[in-house]
Amino acid sequence: MAKPEDMEELAAEFALGSLPPVERREAEALMASDPAFAEMVKAWERRLIPLALALEPVEPPPRIRGAVMKAIAGDAAGSETVVAWKRKASAWRLATLGASAIAASLAAFIVLGTPKGPLTDQRYVAVLQAEGPGPAFLASIDLASGSISVRTVGAPPQPGKSYELWAVGAGRDKPQSLGVIDASFRIPASTLGKIDPAALNDTLFAVSLEPEGGSPTGQATGPVMFTGKLVATE
């Protein structure tokens, strides 16, 4: 069982700017889906911003102003794009809908959101959470390097039990085990190879609670604790 990520420290490091790319994207995913985490980040930005504001102004080349004004010229009103931004935020919330509505069985599977196109060489994050406060796990997929990593953020340790990650739906006749989530959880490219990239955005990721070491049967035997879908991060 990995040590749960301290949310306050993650927020602090995000605001500081020291997070490596994957963790930074995960933190951005959390900000969009977890208002409490977004507040922590804001508080940290407030604490540190005097440093940024202390810098002497530097005049940018005049053409930047023209480029910016041109870029927004097509927008009749700022609110239009604000709607798009809010839509993005609500897509996040949709993607992190709780698991309890899905019932305690992986067989009962609900497709969340609308399938977009096939995924390409992008990077994706799923925030896995139960209904209730706070996310439990963050799953990041990097299609370029072909790896999935999972970080524990809020899931409580379960002595004598293991959390196991599953991929559900998108043409699978039954849930596919992606492995037991432990301290160094990283799914090798060979496993991801079995996942059709074109179907990734229809895939629901779910975490079940299993006997220590994972499901003995190859199918989920314990309750589904957390679910989430992938959302592109750039």
Partner: protein, 184 residues
């Protein structure tokens, strides 16, 4: 001018609500008032001029798009704007360095440890500086390198010849010290 005065903060506050309604003239004024400061912020993170300019441009487009989500009273306007610019610059730096097989060039371009700003006209700056000085000098440098230049743990690890996990622990301890000092 090292920090924005209250009248300017108030003007920016008003401008942001006009921008939220799609007022392009207000947006132009906002640009004129803040672009120098925001350019300074992104230039620290991105040494390459063309990347810094791209970050500034993207940051202002985000400001236009998100002005409606600015809540007065939660962050002051300059702080909100600077945070958008910093995040834009750091994202661009991460995207850029991820795609570079060899990051040496960029690391080389990053100059030495930034100097803590001397001017402390703003009360909150002098307070933050006082809190930073509670940290051993090396950790102050790490915090400043991460904040001003967006250095990741791995980049700091290479610079200070320590494992990245150690850097993570040091940074988090340092941030806890800062928080206790600032909030206490």
């Amino acid at each position: 001018m090292n920090s924005f005065s209250e009248p300017i903060e108030r003007e920016l506050d008003g401008l942001l609500s006009l921008v939220a309604d799609g007022d392009k003239r207000a947006f132009g004024r906002l640009y004129d008032l803040t672009s120098g400061k925001l350019f300074a912020v992104v230039r620290c993170v991105l040494k390459k001029p063309e990347l810094a300019e791209e970050a500034l441009q993207e940051a202002f487009i985000k400001v236009w798009q998100r002005a409606g989500s600015y809540e007065a009273g939660s962050l002051r306007p300059t702080a909100w704007l600077a945070a958008i610019a910093r995040n834009q610059a750091i994202d661009l730096k991460r995207r850029f360095s991820e795609r570079m097989a060899d990051r040496a060039e960029e690391l080389e371009a990053a100059d030495s440890v930034p100097v803590m700003p001397e001017a402390d006209v703003a009360m909150d700056l002098s307070r933050l500086k006082k809190c930073l000085k509670l940290l051993p000098e090396e950790r102050q440098d790490m915090v400043l390198l991460a904040y001003y230049q967006g250095w990741t743990r791995d980049e700091l690890a290479a610079q200070y010849k320590r494992p990245a996990t150690t850097i993570k622990t040091l940074l988090r301890q340092s941030l806890t010290v800062l928080k206790d000092c600032l909030d206490g």
